[in-house]
């Protein structure tokens, strides 16, 4: 359902005109320019929103600018707002907030939020703003006007900074224009700025990950297992998975630890969801039972028969809130999202590399080894008395997984490790089946003994397996959404082979997180008695959760997602919800060739 609007621009056929604003971005940061112009990525922060709101007011008035001959003839002062002109000679287009004209002389005025720089007691416009004005002047000149000066009006301080359009500025600007075009046509993204004070103010910082990218690439060059590990050298890259950046090159946490947006789960059959203003109204039989502002949710999950009005659906798409559909029993059908990411380059690399067996194998090895390591950590942390033999065997399997030479044997290793792990899973459950309280309907037929001590599914035949199945299903949903938002095609994976309706890439990324998020959520739901055996029903051989139990489980799961964890490489703490996105973006970096290794997420 994702229309996936293809980018109009490709490296060899970029649009003819470069907007003045884009040259401003290029001077600020070439990487930012590449993201916005070539990949069509845009994100909002306070600065861009405030700027946008101010400009909305300016743009509402739309004037015409008389030709230069008319200006000279009339000789009176003219103010024209919101003028768009282009120049064929330079291939530039500029939208000018205000053009002041007197006699034959025109002066573009650009409104900027913020404050000017003060140098030698004089107001000076920032370089980026000077460039933008120079472009406007060039475009005006090319349209026959005489323009010697421009003005930046800084709204915050209400100050005007004058900029003379002289030879130096013009040649600098044309130089920047040439470089910007070369950058766009090269199809290679410029490296991030190094420790720049610009980054914390940049709206794309959460997508660009400047410090994280630097940290990973210094890992690449400092470790001998470097840049080419995933591509050429046949070496395991486990050193990278555990390596930590030296304390002297600390990674700034430029993206917020939590976004404070909450998922919305609708699980009650027969609900209807409408919209009023920017508020979702959840109704049951014409009675509103919950109101949720669209701006405060990050996703909507619907289980079973729930009606969503078109108005609500449109508003959710517009606000880029993905909607996930599940059957009543928790089977994940799919998602609806807005137009999605325009970046086609990432998907192209994904499809190309999925056909390179060596690459798939190396990535798969890292993922499986990471998963086994995380399973082992879970046992160490949560088992009443961690079984030595199992821990040793899992350690061996982890190493074996790092060296194995085929996907098939990797599958075998993964299965063996999972078998050992689940054999001891019951040891991590710290309540007995009777859950210590009297029941009204006699003793419950279930216990959390983890029957047969193994995984079973389709259908799950005991409560623990039912919980695990639901947890994996919900986690697969989260990673599918993450894949979409980063610009991947979730259905083409590197380890999991494509199969009908299976989000293979989401499952690839999910492997190392299975024990840490899903299993852990299941264990804490059971151990803290958020869920008891009375929350289950048995139909034939299959065991499933009652609606109330399912609601409790969502709370346990989201609590786990909200937990802060330390990133093994960057050293900062973010919640799991954000961690999934960071990991997906890092994988994207590997595919586009910026990073040589994918640092699989493991905890200590």
């Amino acid at each position: 359902m994702n229309a996936g609007a293809a980018s109009e621009s490709s490296a060899d056929a970029l649009p003819d005109y470069l907007p003045a604003r884009m040259l401003n971005e290029f001077v600020y940061c070439p990487r930012l320019f590449y993201y916005e112009w070539v990949e069509g990525v845009f994100a909002q922060n306070r600065e861009t929103v405030e700027g946008g709101l101010r400009h909305a007011k300016l743009d509402a008035k739309h004037d015409d600018l008389p030709t230069s001959d008319e200006l000279q003839a009339s000789g009176e002062a003219i103010h024209s707002r919101s003028i768009t002109l282009s120049s064929d000679a330079y291939g530039l287009i500029a939208k000018m907030d205000l053009v002041e004209a007197e006699g034959g002389l025109v002066t573009p005025v650009d409104y900027k939020r913020g404050t000017p720089r003060v140098a030698d007691g004089k107001l000076v416009a920032w370089d980026t703003d000077r460039t933008q004005l120079a472009v406007q002047a060039l475009v005006l000149r090319d349209n026959g006007y005489q323009c010697d000066e421009g003005v930046i009006y800084y709204v915050t301080t209400k100050q005007r900074a004058r900029v003379a359009i002289d030879e130096t500025l013009v040649s600098q600007t044309l130089d920047a224009l040439r470089q910007a075009r070369e950058t766009a046509e090269s199809g290679r993204i410029p490296p991030p700025l190094v420790d720049s004070p610009k980054c914390p103010r940049c709206s794309l910082v959460g997508i660009c990950l400047p410090d994280e990218t630097q940290a990973c690439s210094t890992l690449d060059s400092s470790e001998q297992l470097s840049q080419r590990t995933l591509f050429d050298i046949d070496l395991p890259h486990r050193a990278v998975a555990y390596a930590r950046v030296d304390s002297d090159s600390e990674v700034r946490r430029l993206l917020p630890a939590r976004d404070d947006l909450r998922p919305l789960y609708l699980n009650t059959q027969g609900l209807r969801v409408g919209k009023s203003g920017n508020v979702l109204k959840v109704q049951e039989k014409d009675k509103t039972i919950q109101e949720v502002r669209i701006g405060e949710i990050c996703q909507l999950s619907l289980f079973g028969n729930i009606q969503l009005s078109t108005q609500a659906l449109q508003a959710l798409c517009e606000n880029e809130v993905p909607i996930a559909y599940f059957s009543m029993g928790g089977w994940f059908y799919g998602t609806t999202s807005g137009l999605g990411v325009k970046n086609i380059y990432l998907r192209r690399e994904q499809f190309r590399l999925a056909d390179v067996p060596g690459f798939c194998l190396r990535l798969a090895r890292a993922l499986v080894a990471g998963k086994i390591r995380n399973q082992r950590t879970m046992l160490q942390r949560n088992h009443v008395e961690p079984p030595d033999s199992a821990l040793k065997m899992m350690k061996c399997m982890q190493e074996e997984a790092e060296w194995t030479d085929s996907i098939d044997s990797l599958l075998g290793i993964e299965g063996n490790a999972a078998r050992i792990y689940f054999q001891h899973f019951a040891g991590m459950i710290k309540v007995d089946g009777e859950d210590g309280s009297p029941t009204t309907n006699g003793p419950s037929p279930f216990n959390f003994d983890f029957v047969n001590r193994n995984r079973n599914r389709r259908p799950p035949r005991d409560p623990v397996n039912a919980l695990l199945s639901l947890a994996y299903s919900v986690l697969a949903k989260d990673l599918t959404i993450v894949c979409h938002s980063v610009g991947f095609d979730p259905f083409l994976g590197f380890y999991h082979q494509p199969r009908f309706g299976r989000a293979a890439l989401a499952l690839d990324l999910l492997e190392p997180f299975r024990p840490l998020i899903a299993d852990s959520a299941v264990l804490s739901a059971i151990n803290t008695r958020m869920i008891t055996t009375r929350d289950f029903v048995q139909v034939g051989p299959s065991v499933s959760l009652k609606p109330e139990g399912r609601k409790s489980f969502f709370r346990a799961y989201e609590q786990r997602m909200d937990t802060l964890v330390t990133h093994p490489i960057f050293g900062y703490r973010v919640n799991y919800r954000r961690m999934l996105e960071i990991q997906a973006r890092l994988l994207a970096r590997v595919l586009t060739g910026e990073l040589g290794t994918y640092p699989v997420f493991t905890t200590r």
Binding site: R46, D260, R262, Y265, N267, Q290, G295, R555
Partner: protein, 96 residues
């Protein structure tokens, strides 16, 4: 990061009052007459201030924004109640 804000307004015209009330419903929870509790990111705050600025009559009405500090990580709530209870939502997700 979100900050909790109390947004209080005094609007001298019924028509504008209703509009302000309706607008504020998009931004926060209606706490009492003319008082909303909002959890604003810097973006939300900018949008809310802009929307209200377009709506009110600047020489008659008044809107106050009271910043109660960061929403997350506050050990105890900064709002306490007498009479009718005050509850705030701090679960990690909405489940219906």
């Amino acid at each position: 990061m979100r900050n909790t804000f109390l947004v209080c307004y005094d609007i001298r015209d019924d028509k504008r009052l209703r509009r302000v009330y309706k607008t504020m419903r998009d931004f926060g929870d209606h706490l009492q007459y003319s008082i909303f509790e909002c959890q604003f990111t810097p973006i939300d705050l900018a949008k809310c201030r802009h929307t209200l600025a377009e709506l009110i009559k600047h020489n008659e009405d008044q809107v106050l924004f009271v910043d109660l500090g960061p929403t997350a990580g506050r050990g105890e709530r900064v709002i306490t109640a007498l009479g009718q209870p005050y509850t705030s939502m701090d679960a990690p997700c909405y489940v219906v």
